[in-house]
């Protein structure tokens, strides 16, 4: 490391530039001071390990000085001994040598920026603040009390640009750089006044909204932000489309010609407009028909739900009015007449009947089929109520009824004539209004039903009683007639059990028109719950997928680990370093049988090292097949033993070819024998043989050894086999280690 380049920025760390120098100081603190001392420092202040001037001098108990880091590193990296006299040493035997430290800090150095031009010479302790424990020095020597750390002041110290543009310059150049050259200095745009980095000025000019630009279509000049507006609204030369373009006028023309075109092509444009309007009308018709169809369908279902019997049951009193206007209007006349005649007479009887009916009529209100009648009925009951109050007047002023029926006022005039248009209105409303209005009507009818009950409470005439009777009848009869249909419907829509139970408890089966929206909402709810469930399941699946992929990753990592571990284990097995190697050949008989069949039986041992820094070798054993040597007695098998040199970690440092002696032995495993009969052979490596050259393959293909180390018969006859295992021993003696 060069003290100049590295020392300089770290010296600046105190000047508040926010420049991180931790890595520099870390690097630097490893070894001694590499500054140029003037005069040169006495060699006793030189660290024998790094050969530099001692940094944080430390003395050992054997009296040698080292940089603190150097000696600690030595103890850690190599033996725990003194690097000079090999005396045993531990960390506890090392003490800071503050005397030497003070001496060194007071030695003068040339400024590390000397090559850049600084010619200052000053004590080492004045180089930087902090790093050299200047405080310590200041306390001891008042002389340097006012010293300013030189590097903080040195004009040649390299410091980073305060704008963090990445430039590192000598201090004396930094101001000029910041003012004139730094790409990150702030400059003001002369057009828009924005503050921008100098290096972005060129790019800014291209996009600045206040830069004057020329319209490409006309000679007008304006700021860039106005250009778009100009092109869209003002520029006379811009080509625009005729406003009637979407209606079929294919013209595109310069804006200045637009008005002229509109004037000239008026008839054509009218024609296009006409065609478009016609088209729209046709479309509307189609939609209207469609809507009517829907209304009709709903009416149909309503009609089906109203049994004709009801009309018969209601008799002359009141015919149900939903389907036809006339069907309602004429009996109503009768009703009004009857009312006029009989109200007083029937009143006492009607009271209980109405009380009994009340819940039913109230109940039946939401249903569309009851809606129209209930409306008319309630209206009628109101009118009858009014009528009742003014019975006396009624005969005298028969004309007060119509306004009563229409507006529920208290005047009753011309009952026969005025009741008709009112009922007509009701009938029309039922037939023509689309279902949307139907719902309005139902609320309206509900309101009326409340009125109705009020009327009941105050005293109701025969009309109300009849209506009640009718309602009762109609609900009961429709209950019977539609029971089957409803059963089916509810079965089909088992999704709404609550609905079903509701109908049961109410005892009055609702009909199709109310059922459908209800069922729809039910289905929507059910769909919503299903959707929620699906979403939850989707999430679950995604989570499971990620878990599975994680597991797969882990699996791959684990299998890699296994491979590495296997390699480590294999490597570890080969770390026999003393040149002695025992090899157990298992399953000897099996090998022999395979050899007998003519197979080439070749077995390799684990590798081993001849010494810590020695050769890597392995053994090879063959069991020869009897067919190999025709001149031998048939069935004569031999155990061959060879040594193979392998590529090892130490090959580069070892002398090649391999020299030395190799002893191979087949061990007698008779434990009882005091003098076991080992068979051993020693061979000397011949440097000219290929087997002992530096291997170019992981294992040298050429081995060296004994093709006929021992006949298999002899092995089997002796005590060389134990548990079907042979024990081979090799010892390598190499002068090179």
């Amino acid at each position: 490391m060069s003290s100049g380049s590295l020392g300089a920025p770290s010296g600046d760390s105190n000047s508040g530039q926010g420049y991180s120098v931790a890595s520099f100081s870390q690097l630097q603190s490893i070894e001694g001071y590499e500054y140029e001392f003037d005069p040169p420092v006495d060699s006793r202040y030189e660290c024998p390990v790094c050969l530099l001037v001692l940094r944080e001098p430390s003395q050992t108990k054997c009296g040698h000085r080292f940089c603190r880091e150097c000696i600690l590193r030595t103890l850690k990296n190599s033996s725990s001994r003194c690097p000079i006299d090999n005396e045993p040493l531990t960390e506890a035997d090392i003490y800071p040598d503050n005397y030497a430290k003070r001496e060194i800090l007071n030695c003068t150095i040339k400024c590390p920026n000397r090559e850049a031009g600084c010619e200052k010479v000053f004590p080492l302790c004045e180089l930087k603040v902090g790093q050299f424990a200047t405080v310590f020095v200041v306390k001891s020597f008042t002389l340097v009390k006012n010293a300013v750390a030189h590097l903080q002041d040195c004009q040649f110290t390299l410091i980073p640009c305060p704008n963090k543009c990445g430039s590192i310059l000598p201090r004396r150049d930094i101001n000029k750089h910041v003012e004139k050259h730094c790409g990150l200095r702030i400059v003001m745009c002369t057009c828009c006044g924005a503050n921008i980095h100098a290096q972005l000025a060129q790019e800014h000019i291209i996009v600045c909204p206040k830069v004057p630009v020329k319209c490409e279509h006309c000679p007008q000049e304006m700021t860039r932000d106005m250009l778009n507006h100009h092109l869209q609204t003002a520029c006379e030369n811009v080509t625009v489309l005729c406003p009637f373009y979407p209606l079929g006028c294919g013209s595109s023309l310069k804006r200045r010609n637009e008005n002229k075109h509109l004037m000239e092509d008026g008839p054509n444009h009218l024609r296009q407009l006409c065609g478009a309007v016609t088209h729209i009308l046709a479309q509307m018709n189609v939609h209207k028909q469609y809507l009517e169809q829907i209304v009709e369908n709903s009416d149909l279902s309503r009609r089906e739900s109203l049994p004709s019997r009801q009309q018969q049951d209601s008799g002359a009193c009141l015919t149900h009015t939903t389907s036809t206007v006339s069907g309602l209007s004429s009996p109503l006349n009768q009703v009004v007449n009857n009312d006029n005649n009989n109200s007083r007479r029937i009143e006492p009887q009607s009271q209980p009947a109405i009380r009994g009916q009340h819940p039913v009529s109230h109940f039946g209100l939401p249903h569309n089929d009851n809606m129209a009648p209930s409306k008319s009925i309630s209206q009628l009951s109101k009118s009858s109520q009014n009528h009742q109050r003014k019975t006396g007047q009624n005969t005298r002023h028969p004309s007060s009824l119509p306004s009563c029926a229409a507006n529920t006022t208290k005047q009753v005039r011309k009952p026969e004539a005025s009741s008709l248009p009112f009922l007509d209105n009701v009938g029309h409303g039922n037939v023509e209004e689309p279902p949307v209005k139907g719902s309005n009507l139902s609320t309206q009818s509900h309101q009326l039903a409340v009125d109705n009950s009020v009327a009941e409470a105050t005293g109701v005439d025969i009309l109300a009683a009849t209506v009640a009777g009718l309602n009762l009848q109609s609900s009961s009869s429709s209950a019977k007639s539609k029971d089957a249909a409803l059963q089916e419907e509810t079965k089909a829509q088992e999704l709404s059990p609550s609905y079903q139970s509701a109908t049961r408890t109410q005892g009055s089966p609702p009909d199709a028109v109310t059922t459908i929206p209800l069922v729809f909402t039910m289905m929507e709810q059910v769909t919503a719950t299903f959707n929620q469930k699906l979403e939850a399941q989707d999430k679950e699946i995604a989570e499971l997928k990620s878990t599975v992929s994680n597991l797969k990753k882990q699996n791959v990592e684990l299998s890699q680990n296994v491979v590495e571990l296997q390699a480590l284990v294999a490597n570890g097995l080969s770390k026999s370093y003393n040149g002695k190697f025992y090899w157990t050949i298992q399953g000897f008989r099996g090998h022999k049988q395979r050899a007998l069949k003519g197979e080439l039986v070749t077995l390799h041992s684990h590798p081993f090292y001849t010494s810590m820094w020695g050769y890597k070798m392995c053994l090879r054993a063959n069991i020869t097949s009897p067919q190999i040597k025709p001149d031998r007695a048939p069935g004569q098998q031999f155990l061959s033993l060879f040594v193979h040199v392998m590529q090892g970690d130490n090959d580069p440092i070892l002398p090649w070819p391999f020299t030395g002696k190799i002893m191979l032995a087949l061990l007698d495993q008779n434990k009882n024998e005091t003098r076991p009969n080992h068979v051993q052979e020693t061979l000397e490596a011949k440097p000219n043989l290929a087997a002992f050259q530096r291997p170019v393959q992981p294992r040298n293909q050429k081995g060296f050894g004994f093709l006929e180390f021992m006949p298999v018969t002899t092995i089997e006859a002796g005590t060389y086999l134990a548990n079907d295992c042979l024990l081979v021993y090799a010892q390598v003696l190499s002068p090179a280690g």
Partner: protein
Amino acid sequence: MANIAEQRIKREFKEVVRSDEVAACNIKVELVNDTVTELRGEIGGPPDTAYEGGKFKLEINIPETYPFNPPQVKFVTKIWHPNISSVTGAICLDILKDQWAAAMTLRTVLLSLQALLAAAEPDDPQDAVVAQQYKDNNDIFQRTARHWTTAYAQGPTKDKELEDKIGNMKSMGFDEHKARVALSTKDWDVTKAAEYLIGQ
């Protein structure tokens, strides 16, 4: 290479180059290529020894852990010495093995090798044959060593008798170096040396 080792070698280089002591003792270190891992050293044979006047080249390899581990040094020049293999040039010297200390430098290593040439340690041999000769027949050892110095290290002294014997062997068809090895091994007995070579 680790920064520490590299920096340290560079500093040592300056030391070897500038030291007067070093020049006086005829030791040299050179770079082989632009890395400092492989170096070439040279030491002069110490005066008043069989190696006097010879220049012995050394191969020096610097490990990454230098200076905490010793450099690997061996002789490139063939030499007849009990502690140096006559075949491979491998050196048996404690400071290059377990007695290495981080304070040692290339300079001290080369000076130690020079000292080793001046004072062999036959009881801790690298080359058993040479060591045996050193102990049993020191005169022949000294002549042989001097002859090898002349033959391989540009030594000044010529030993005519020994050269003649090698000439004999050469005329028998043996390679000169092999003949020299055989003769040196067999205490310059031509017959035994020839038998040795044939039996090899």
